[in-house]
């Protein structure tokens, strides 16, 4: 059993992750709460947010592509059998 204070770390960070914040702009309603300009008869409010779907996909796809090659487990013998078996008892 690991002492609690050790387990607080272990976060792996990539600057690309910041891209995930971009779609949150869709929560700032004053940006787009208006009717013009219209697109195929749809008020701005509606088509702008539909466009937001594409922005969201672009953000998650880019982060996926850019962080794909990084190994999720650090190379080398960091883990031994005893550590791994610990959780398997439950």
């Amino acid at each position: 059993m690991a002492p609690p204070k050790k387990s607080a770390s272990g976060i792996r960070w990539s600057p690309w992750n910041l891209l995930l914040l971009v779609p949150l702009l869709l929560l700032i309603t004053p940006f787009f709460n208006r009717s013009g300009p219209e697109f195929i008869g749809m008020p701005f409010f509606y088509w702008f947010q539909l466009l937001g779907v594409v922005v969201g996909v672009a953000a998650t796809s880019t982060v996926f592509a850019m962080t794909k090659d990084k190994p999720t487990t650090p190379p080398g013998p960091g883990r031994d059998v005893d550590e791994l078996d610990e959780g398997a008892t439950r």
Binding site: G10, L20, L27, T60
Partner: protein, 542 residues
């Protein structure tokens, strides 16, 4: 009675029933007598299956009827469903990966399992499990509301128990094959459901606007309706913008705290499957946005909701079925109804499995049978899934369906209160276990008090009338920080903020007192394990 529609509906229903039973053998593991197999489909679903499964899981029949119904009656506010599902995936992208890895490493089946492992506290895990079950139950009942809206539109609109009989039959069938096949049943049926839904919605959003004279006609018809009614509007107003944003954010934060969403994620094979799905699932968001607009299409087409013979009230949830019936030929309407009907079965099955997993892992095994074998766990979960489903049916049969809608509203607020213990704990154990417990009680209690204080928009009911709280009503022991303000906010976010503040405060005190913060079973590396790692825990073994 609409016979063509009914025949097509029953045929497609028959197809998915067969699939439900066949699913037991699909990608079968060594045994179904283990929760990894029955409750998580063997933890080996690839990208496509996961896409259909999670899509079928979170875009439910109720969503399909209720979101356009909200647009129909309130206008722009109902469109919150779109930003909600857009911000959803970027927010959950990273936490979900950690959740998947740690659950894979330790064999966790439910979010409460993770909390149990992270804090070693069976009390905190119990709170999380109970919250999950309570929030999920009315959600299952609501799927029945969606299914019933379709059945009533097809002419099966009897009064009393007889009027509910088709619903009961549909649910008995569902219960039996879920019992037998576990999560594989909804996973396989989701293929049929989602394909039908895509076809129907795409046809509807292309064909109907052309038929009705284009989007500008539709929007001006909607504008006329709201101007005449002096409520709602095609744009947001000064009072409901904050409500719109906080409802979208709160719903996004809440969605993957629901046990059924976690079930769908944990059933996937590896981290890359989840990552790919974070980019692929928004296809459903686009669909949902277009579907929401059908609420306005229904206004332009002059749709009137059907009166529910069981309650005597006009049911706005019938507007989409009625729209399809009026505007489509009856065979296509039949397909559309089947899409909605099957769309009720998939989430209902996953939700009942998720609730059953919670019951089995975090209550039965924790408090009644500590030495339960995996086989006994699986047996217990199967039985629990039956109890959960018939509980949901009883809800609809014996209690006003409005009660389920109220409860689901409450469900969204209360599931959000598990965010600190489940989502924040994925990153840090800084919050003390007593802080989390205290925060949960405060968030829960205050959320309920606030919801109780909200009257419905039409003034008919004094309590639980919605989730939009006027800031004016916000009071802290009699102190009104925003007195006089008519701006509205989503209750769930208010309760969550209170929850977090209390959690931090109690954490500081507990640390000062050096209170014991539980034992952590997990290690930093556990949050990064992936499919294919050597020495990874075996599936379906203890």
């Amino acid at each position: 009675m609409k016979w063509t529609e009914l025949v097509i509906f029953v045929l497609l229903f028959g197809v998915v029933t067969v699939l439900g039973f066949v699913a037991a053998k699909w990608k079968a593991g060594g045994t179904l007598d283990h929760l990894d197999e029955w409750g998580l489909g063997g933890r080996k679903f690839g990208s496509w299956v996961t896409w259909f499964l999670i899509g079928g899981d979170i875009y439910t029949a109720y969503t399909f009827v209720a979101v356009p119904a909200l647009m129909f009656s309130s206008g722009a506010l109902g469109f919150y469903a779109l930003p909600y599902t857009v911000v959803l995936y970027p927010i959950i992208f990273l936490p979900l990966l950690r959740m998947w890895s740690v659950s894979r490493a330790h064999g966790y089946v439910t979010p409460a399992d993770f909390v149990r492992g992270r804090y070693g506290s069976s009390l905190l895990a119990l709170l999380i499990a109970v919250t999950g079950i309570v929030a999920t139950m009315p959600y299952i009942a609501l799927q029945l509301v969606g299914l019933e809206a379709v059945l009533r539109t097809m002419g099966i609109n009897g009064s009393g128990i007889v009027g509910h009989l088709p619903l009961l039959i549909a649910f008995v069938v569902l219960a039996v094959y879920t019992y037998q096949s576990g999560l594989r049943a909804p996973a396989l049926i989701a293929f049929v459901k989602d394909i039908l839904v895509y076809v129907v919605i795409i046809v509807a959003v292309v064909y109907l606007p052309i038929k009705l004279g284009g989007w500008s006609e539709i929007f001006s018809a909607a504008d006329d309706k709201f101007t005449t009614a002096k409520s709602g509007g095609v744009l947001l107003n000064a009072n409901n913008q904050l409500q719109y944003a906080t409802l979208a954010l709160g719903s996004a934060l809440a969605l993957f705290l629901y046990p059924h969403s976690v079930t769908g994620v944990l059933a996937s094979k590896g981290r890359n499957v989840i990552k790919r799905n974070m980019s692929a699932l928004p296809a459903y968001s686009l669909l949902l946005g277009l579907l929401a607009l059908l609420g306005f299409v229904a206004i332009a087409a002059g749709v009137a909701p059907i009166t529910n013979q069981a309650t005597g009230q006009p049911d706005t949830n019938t507007i989409i079925p009625v729209l399809f019936q009026n505007e489509f030929s009856s065979w296509f309407a039949g397909i559309a109804f089947a899409a909605i009907g099957i769309g009720a079965l998939v989430p209902a099955a996953i939700m009942s499995i998720a609730a059953a997993n919670l019951w089995t892992r975090n209550i039965y095994k924790e408090y009644f049978r500590k030495d339960a074998t995996p086989k006994q766990e699986a047996k217990q979960a199967k039985l629990a899934s039956l109890v959960v489903k018939f509980g949901a049916v009883a809800f609809i049969l014996f209690i006003d369906p409005q009660f389920s809608i109220d409860l689901q509203l409450i469900g969204g607020v209360i599931i959000l209160q598990t965010l600190p213990a489940v989502a924040i704990a994925l990153y840090t154990r800084w919050l003390h276990v007593w802080g989390l417990i205290a925060g949960w009680f405060v968030g829960m209690g205050w959320g309920m008090v606030l919801l109780y204080s909200i009257p419905s928009a039409n003034g008919k009911r004094a309590h639980f009338g919605g989730s939009a709280l006027a800031l004016d009503k916000l009071s802290l022991f009699g102190w009104h920080p925003f007195a006089g303000s008519t701006v509205q906010i989503y209750v769930g976010i208010v309760a969550l903020v209170a929850n977090l503040l209390v959690a931090v405060l109690v954490t500081l005190i507990a640390r000062k007192l050096k209170a014991f913060n539980g034992m952590d079973q997990t290690r930093p590396d556990d949050y990064h394990v992936d499919d294919g790692d050597k020495k990874l825990r075996q599936i379906g073994a203890h």
